[in-house]
Amino acid sequence: MKSEELKNQEYKYGFTTDIDNIRAPRGLKEETIHFISKIKKEPKWMLEWRLKAFKRLKVLKEPNWQKPKYPKINYQDLYYYSAPKSMKDKPKSLEEVDPKLIETYNKLGIPLNEQKRLSGVAVDAVFDSVSVATTFKGELDKKGIIFCPISEAIQKYPELVKKYLGSVIPISDHYFATLNSAVFTDGSFVYIPPNTKCPMELSTYFRINASETGQFERTLIIADKGSYVSYLEGCTAPMRDENQLHAANVELVALDDAEIKYSTVQNWYPGDKNGVGGIYNFVTKRGACRGNNSKISWTQVETGSAITWKYPSCILQGDNSVGEFYSIAITNNHQKADTGTKMIHLGKNTKSKIISKGISAGKADNTYRGLVDIGSKALNSRNYTQCDSLLMGNKCGAHTVPYIRNKNSSSTVEHEATTSKINEDQLFYCNQRGLNQEEAVSLIVNGFCKEVLQQLPMEFAVEAQKLVSISLEGSVG
């Protein structure tokens, strides 16, 4: 792509879709929660669960220790539920889905249509607050894999939901997690039965369409004994002047010998060049390696959002369990990111690996904040952490805030971090071989991120690579 083209390239996914919406009454009150619960036809226990969270929310205070500060959010001014009107009578098949919705997703390039089965991705698309359609259902059903909107799971599989919902992120965890517990609207539910390898990548697509809405989705993934699943998540939002809140909760549970791979490409609207608008991405993601020999791997490519504030974490409870975290966070213009991970080692012989790559350009601020905590009973545990930051220009910032705790003598913790700029020699070398400045930077940055990009499933890796280049447009020269 030529540099001229790059410069003019605005946020590609910034279109809005005109669809009639049904909204919950404005504001955060008990009435809103009753409304959401009623419209979702939820059982009584679910409503009670929500109300418990809401009660707790009243005592909690919004945290303020994070690096990127933001103007106070008026929670009473938001809509907590927004659904396209045509969804009221839920479509049974794709033909019944509002063509406009399908069009939106086509613009985004999601293989919603089953004809695109070759791409081998089963998609659960969340539009504002409800799941639109889930593809590939039949095939998954055969294997006993449950992949459906969480609102459906609450009705169909209440025992599973009751058992695991809130078991990794308790309802009283922290302000945004509790807010989500009270008002979450939809999200995905995945259950992989014992000794099953999910034959395809499962995928969710999130999109915030309506204005003044927050999106509060909740994802719960359970990998039973000896199972494997790879899950992808992508996000976009239209351009709007006001800041929109996205406070999702994602819970993963891996039992004995199970493995979950969770990949995210986050491309929410980052705000314009002057930092007006954009999404506040305050997400709680946490996985529990409950069983022995279980494994959870997080991969994230964070290129969007005005503020990204999240720490996908692993609680390594089972002996020999493994946690991994691979992250690329790119911030440009006025974007801010405060992201990282927590690896909490509780079981014996647990291992964790953290690779974080931060890139700051323009006037952006990028923080890696992470915790490695090795408990006194987590004998023979091991952690390796590497955080590298790349700075472009002297108006941006790159920060590293690792917390390291080691409480026994047989465990080893290693941490390394570097901060640097793009090497002039490398740039010169690329220029010499006929690449222009933008192309050279893009090449070098992609090399810098390679360790993380390799972790992504194929379809995502290509998209992510493109995103990396686009996100940095106009930041050099």
């Binding site: 220790w65 006194s376 004998l379 930051s389 700075l391 472009m392 220009g393 002297n394 108006k395 941006c396 910032g397 790159a398 920060h399 590293t400 805030v401 690792p402 917390y403 390291i404 705790r405 080691n406 409480k407 026994n408 003598s409 047989s410 465990s411 080893t412 913790v413 290693e414 941490h415 390394e416 971090a417 570097t418 901060t419 640097s420 700029k421």
Partner: protein
Amino acid sequence: MEQLFNFKLEKISNFSNKEMLERKKNLNFFLEKGFPNKKDENWKFTDLNSIISKNFNNITNNLDFKFEKKIDYIQEFEHNSIVTVNGSLKSSDMQFEDKGKIKIDNLVSLEEFSLHSNNNLYHLNKALTLGGFDLEVKENYKCKKPIILYNYFTSKLDNKIINNSNKIKLNQNSELILIEYNICENSKFLKNTFENINIEKNSILKNISIQNNKCNGYFYKNISGVQGYNSSYQNFLLTSGLKFNKVDVNISLEKENSNCFILSGLNLNSGEHQEIKTKINHLAPNCKSYQKIKNVLENDSIGVYQGKIYVKDIAQKTDAYQLSKALILNDLAEFNAKPELEIYADDVKCSHGSTSGSIDLDAIHYLMTRGIELHKAKKLLINGFLNEIFENIPEKKIKNFLEKCMEYQIDRL
């Protein structure tokens, strides 16, 4: 329940009304929040309030400075000496130096009262400070011999708190090696020190802190320093043996080409807790900072390192490095680290590393196959691990002395 503390301002006399008023204000600030606890990010790994509550009751400010004994001076190398007793300046002897080149005084007036500190111990210090010294080295004077500052703590300090403020100033083109040497009798007390350091153009300050024996004292020391063009500050923290110690170093490299070294080698034994917290502010281009923190942790000891490198946007060509390493020898011991980088300039070389783990079993095996018994092999490795930080001390006699001190400490393990 008995009170945790009972501070009386009236007992400290001889201030002007204005000063009394300021002291009262500071005391009220302190009383509002009390001792810091782990909710305060700076005290996250060291909950001072709970540590103090567990070990003290009815703490009062110390007013006892009586001292009759003779101090055993260090014989290994020639030096000048300053003696403080319970934090108060007793005597000084600059026998090796030219007259009038080094000024040492009791710190009497407290010029700067600031009420904008979020460190509550600062308010406590400003309210109760008594004693402390003001040390100045004149322009173009390089001290011929090091100065040893003997800090003596008597046995009558149980449940007392000592609040000191010190000032150290090195005028242009001067040099000083200052060794702080603590000697403690058996008493359990608190010491809260705030030290201001000003190192002017082309000057060098080497500051070594060392402990001669086990001490039941609970020490907090806050060092805030400002460095001029081409100046150098080197701080060696070797205070093994203290029950509790937290050193809070805040250095601003304000002018070009200045450098700052913070090096620490500690071996902690049962019940000991030491924290080193640093903040190095790179405010000008071409400055260098280097931090190396090494801990050996035995029994149920706790070692903490919280380091921060801040690089301002104009501070290009900064070279900053942080390294913290811990050898954990017991499952009850704990090591916590938070090596932090905050960087706003792009043409910099900033990195940090942190490791913690047990002794390398292969190395032990290697030594044992060569006929060295396990106990000795371990000591040898610990010694090697800690000795590395002495590399930066060129004065041979001092280096030998420090190595001997270290060996003695390791033998006690």
